[in-house]
């Protein structure tokens, strides 16, 4: 045989900047690095690490493969065509398209040919993506078609066809069959923190403005008062008189497991990464939502990690309450529901990890008797994670009373 078989852990390179669409595009000069770093046939059994530079086409293929398995795909976007909502270097999570989506305003990952598109608005809506791309590429060039993954917004929809356009682009990309859309962007992270993506009602307005080329101006005008309102609302929510009145309303809030219909809403409203129900069950995860009438006010995830290791145990994840509904005790209700689930699994403690800069969350957890985990494998692992990813997390734990205990 040519050499000892090897499996090598590799990482993609970080690139400082790039032009063009917000897409998973490689640095053209970096392809050689892959061959140098991980060429086949090397002798010896040491596992070589190194840089793995994937082409845009490779990332497209991997995204399609991962999303078709019902999983989400996380990668770094390049370019400026989705400014101001997505900037070069932002980390995007693309999730499968649920139901009849995507909707107007959604940001989607779609495959198109370099040099433009061009599906005719009146084209056959049943056309497969491969046939469409082949036809488009033939029209653009006689050379081998270069497909690329582009992350842009749906700005209009007619039946099974979607008009796609970058928020910062002068022209639309064209009409694409719904089935050609690989997935919907459900989360944007910048510097390790989630950012607003501009979806839901906001996305519809963005799509309307985008289709008229007035988005950038509108964003500047919209941002100032929204910031002021948010800050004022948070101040008001701290007032005892507000909190006592609001808690009466919280009595009508229902905490229950998320329905399938909730997934699209949760993904769109909260940027939540949503593996399908089977994947969540396999991972020991239960998603709970807080509901008032038809409105989703917040959610939390309970995860029972059965495998041995630093993260073994019962976890509370992603506790989130929408801003207008804070200060009403909804977060406390969600935590109580997770504790109940954990007790049903026989757990004697509940764990969570929180950003130490999130003062509001820390105050809530302290009030609910959670205490820091400062020693042991979990604390060590989180410290290592913080060093590797630059995103510090503090683990907290709380004892749970057993059956019959107070």
């Amino acid at each position: 045989m040519a050499g000892r078989p090897q499996v090598a852990a590799r990482q993609q390179p970080r690139r400082a900047s790039a032009d063009g669409a917000a897409a998973a595009e490689p640095a053209a000069d970096a392809r050689g690095a892959a061959a140098v770093a991980g060429g086949p046939g090397a002798d010896g059994c040491a596992v070589p690490g190194g840089v793995l530079s994937l082409s845009g086409d490779a990332v497209r293929e991997l995204l399609t493969a991962v999303v078709s398995r019902g999983a989400a795909f996380r990668f770094t976007a390049r370019g400026a065509s989705m400014r101001p909502f997505i900037l070069d270097g932002d980390v995007l999570t693309v999730s499968p398209v649920h139901g009849s989506g995507p909707r107007v305003g959604d940001v989607v990952a779609v495959t198109m040919c370099r040099g433009g598109t061009s599906a005719d608005e009146d084209g056959d809506p049943e056309t497969s993506i491969d046939a469409l791309l082949a036809a488009d590429c033939d029209a653009v060039s006689d050379e081998a078609p270069e497909r690329r993954l582009v992350v842009h917004r749906v700005v209009a929809r007619r039946g099974e066809r979607c008009l796609i356009r970058g928020d910062n682009c002068p022209q639309p990309d064209g009409w694409f069959p719904r089935l050609s859309i690989a997935g919907v962007v459900t989360r944007v992270e910048r510097d390790g923190r989630p950012r607003k993506l501009g979806v839901g009602r906001l996305g519809q307005r963005v799509a309307w403005l985008s289709s008229r080329g007035r988005l950038t101006t509108a964003v500047g005008v919209v941002r100032a008062p929204r910031r002021a309102v948010g800050a004022t609302l948070r101040l008001v929510q701290r007032l005892p008189v507000y909190r006592s009145g609001a808690r009466r309303l919280a009595g009508r809030v229902v905490i229950e497991p998320a329905h399938d219909d909730d997934l699209l809403e949760l993904g769109r409203r909260f940027g939540l990464v949503l593996p399908d129900a089977a994947a969540r069950r396999a991972a020991g995860s239960t998603l709970l939502v807080a509901r008032h009438g038809q409105s989703l006010l917040g959610f939390v995830e309970y995860v029972h990690r059965a495998e041995e290791g630093a993260y073994h145990g019962d976890w509370l994840h992603a506790l989130t309450v929408r801003t207008p509904w804070r200060g009403m005790g909804i977060a406390t209700l969600l935590v109580a529901a997770v504790e109940e689930l954990a007790r049903e699994h026989g757990a004697r403690e509940l764990l969570l990890a929180v950003d130490p800069g999130n003062r509001a969350a820390l105050a809530l957890y302290r009030k609910l008797c959670f205490r820091p985990v400062e020693e042991g494998a979990l604390a060590e692992d989180l410290r290592g994670l913080a060093l590797r990813r630059g995103a510090p997390l503090t683990a907290l734990r709380r004892d749970l009373p057993g059956p019959g205990e107070a």
Binding site: P5, R10, L52, L54, L62, A71, F73
Partner: protein, 100 residues
């Protein structure tokens, strides 16, 4: 890396990975908590590793795989079997394959 692979057992790729041949190279993306993360580590196999991976179909035992590779590469049967066990043991430790 521990080697817990068994010659008499057949293995197949785990449901927790997505593997694709891209530009002649096998790229393996682990799915962690339902997410394939390109910003985390990806894995590749060299040419020899790829020849083994392609035969991990849940039907052929590792002994079958080693025998096929011995015929194809005309190598030393014992050394090839050791290589196969070593690689599959490593893949098992990384939860990239499962026994059938």
């Amino acid at each position: 890396m521990s080697t817990g692979a068994d010659c008499a057992v057949a293995y197949r790729p785990s449901e927790d990975v997505v593997a694709r041949v891209i530009e002649g190279e096998i790229i393996i993306v682990p799915l962690v908590a339902g997410i394939g993360d390109m910003d985390d580590e990806l894995f590749t196999l060299n040419e020899t590793g790829k020849a083994i991976w392609d035969r991990l179909d849940g039907q052929r035992t590792l002994a079958d795989v080693a025998a096929e590779l011995t015929d194809e590469y005309e190598g030393d049967a014992g050394a090839i079997e050791t290589d196969v066990l070593g690689l599959v043991g490593e893949l098992l430790a990384r939860r990239m394959v499962v026994a059938v």
